[in-house]
Amino acid sequence: MTGREALPHYVESTRLQHFVNYEVVGKSALRVQRWRDQWKLATRRPRPDSPLSPPLRCVAYMKEIMSRHYLEGRYAAGVRKVAWVTSGAPTEPLQALGYFLVYPENHAALCGVRRKAQSIAEEAEHAGWSRDICSYARTDIGSMLSGKTPAGRLPRPDVLVCCTNICQTVLHWYRVLADYFGCPLVLIDTPFLFHEAHEHEVAYVKRQIEDMICVAEEIAGKSLHEKRFQDVMANARRGAELWLEILNRSQHRPAPMTAFDGFIHMGPIVDMRGEAVVVAYYERMLAELDERIDRGIGAIKNERYRVLWDNLPIWFKIGDLSKWLAERGVNVVASTYTYAWGELAPMIDPDHPLDSMARVYLHPILNRSTGHKLESMKRMVDEFELDGVILHSDRSCKPYSLGQIDQRDRLVKKLGVPALLLEADHNDPRDYAEEQGSNRLEAFVETMEARA
């Protein structure tokens, strides 16, 4: 099948290319790179003037895992079946069927961190996509049209899986992808939860997952192996449990990691959940955090205030922001966003994979009421002993930002914690006013200081 446009940058690889460039040369080169990174981290001279403690040593492994994933992506088309999926899509059966998964949202975030998102999004804007559309969608559509990507190359999808448990934007976005790529689109509709899920809602989602499996099996030309599926589910559960434990380690004072570290280290649980490598990685990370806790090492050197971050990060600013806040003794120790990939771990049941998947994928924070998010935030303020809350009002992500004015209000009035609404965008620097943003942040820090 061919799409609406030629999109010449989506090329297929041969098995030989995949083997030589990825399996042999690529993997070895990345291992050598990891050794170099480890050596650099181990021999790094202390930086007394930096407000941050040295980075976690495990970051070298994370770079290796993530780079390997994107590297394989360059050679996956034509060798493995490829699915492009939304961040909240039920991917475990696809993993078990051997699909290579591409998460366009994560790819867009990568563009954001590398400060390439604006120029790539402009490719979409020049082609007529409105600036009011989520900047993730614009970044990925821009990348699809132009071939521009810091990842080298993405593989063309054989199937698209879109789950509406995060927003309705993805529905329209994936229809566009389907139109361009001319491949099947599986849509999984998740009813919005005002309270707990009803059984008929669980049954409804489960049936759609079953339908997805049929489509995926047909495209893959093989059937889902039950044992393999359960293994993937078990890894998914263990990975999510570990991730939750990692995040909860920041309840310690001083917190061994910041939410900014979390934004970076969440890559594996988002992109590769269900794979054994994720479990191994998070075990390593957890051990290192425990070592920090034992030695009383905090992620920032002088932790005076502990803060919660709500909503997506501002990808193009995370480095600057984490340093700026650390200089003022502010440690962002928790975030509702990173939590979203851990908090549902107890729901995953490898013995009842389909039922539990239906439940899990109905319950992401973005598919639940604003009151639910407020309750989660209140609980985090309590459990992490927080001094303040930063609510990033994200111009792109309407479902996440909806209700923040009232949530902020309740946090200030009911809990008495200073809370700041920071207007920005997760990927588009044109929607962040530097001067005004830092002025608000400064005033927020001073308000916490005044209470101390």
Binding site: D409, E423, Q436, A443, T447
Partner: protein, 257 residues
């Protein structure tokens, strides 16, 4: 004359203010000028002028606030207007409550707690409507000097409602109102109402705890004061020198008085 304990510098977008306080936190001297493009040079000159007026020891702390605060090399520390206005007004009026600061280029609502500390705040820093610039810009279109704005707006009972929420579009609206023969003072009244409406809705989102207090240059405008009182149904109290409150608070924070 008593010794200078600290200096506050408020490098605002419209005006630049310097205040010197003594150990008891009383204002000994102050200066106010329209902000010049190179505010750091201006502050240096104003500090010299202040020195000519009163004796200042070299080691006196100087706290800078306002949008240009980071450019002021002489400052020992800089703090946002939120902290400084709250401190200045609390010291001057001695009341907890809701402070509305309408500056030249932004406006803020600050809730001041019983101990004088800012509990919560909200800023309008994205849009000129709702700031002093809105009146300045539109008044220029009507040819009315700024000092006369409030009096003229209160001198009439009729009011032309202004529907545009944007400063630039409000200007076009004024032009068409004039063309239709509307009374300029009634237009002015409508403009004040529009500004007050926006500021009060921001105050409501923070939550209005009485009394309502005003600071910043626009607080000297009697129509703004009257209309805020009408809109909130609360008493509005204003410090003697509302424009100096940022610099005054900064000086107080420097002297820890």
């Amino acid at each position: 004359m008593s010794h200078v304990a600290a200096i506050g510098i408020d490098a605002g977008s419209t005006t630049c203010k310097l205040v010197a306080v003594d150990r008891d936190g009383a204002i000994i001297a102050w200066l106010l000028e329209p902000t010049e493009p190179r505010v750091e040079i201006q502050v240096r000159r104003m500090l010299d002028a202040l020195r000519a007026e009163i004796r200042i020891e070299t080691a006196v702390p100087a706290i800078a606030t306002g949008y240009g605060r980071k450019l002021i090399k002489q400052a020992t520390r800089n703090l946002t207007e939120i902290t400084c206005h709250a401190r200045g007004v609390f010291r001057d009026l001695g009341r907890a409550g809701t402070l509305i600061d309408i500056g030249g280029q932004d406006s803020k609502v600050i809730q001041i707690g019983e101990d004088g500390r800012p509990v919560d705040f909200m800023m309008n820093d994205k849009c000129a409507a709702g700031t002093g610039r809105f009146l300045e810009y539109t008044a220029a279109r009507l040819g009315v000097p700024i000092e006369a704005l409030g009096k003229r707006a209160l001198s009439v009972s009729s009011e032309e409602p202004i529907s545009s929420t944007c400063t630039v579009f409000a200007e076009s609206e004024i032009i068409s109102l004039i063309a239709r023969g509307a009374e300029p003072d009634a237009i002015l009244r409508g403009l004040h109402r529009s500004l007050v409406g926006r500021v009060v809705s921001m105050a409501r989102s923070v939550g209005i705890v009485p009394p309502v207090m005003l600071s910043g240059g626009v607080a000297r405008n009697e129509a703004v004061r009257t209309m805020i009182a009408e809109a909130t149904g609360e008493d509005v109290i204003v410090p003697r020198q509302p424009q100096l409150m940022g610099a005054y608070g900064a000086a107080l924070l420097g002297s820890a008085a």
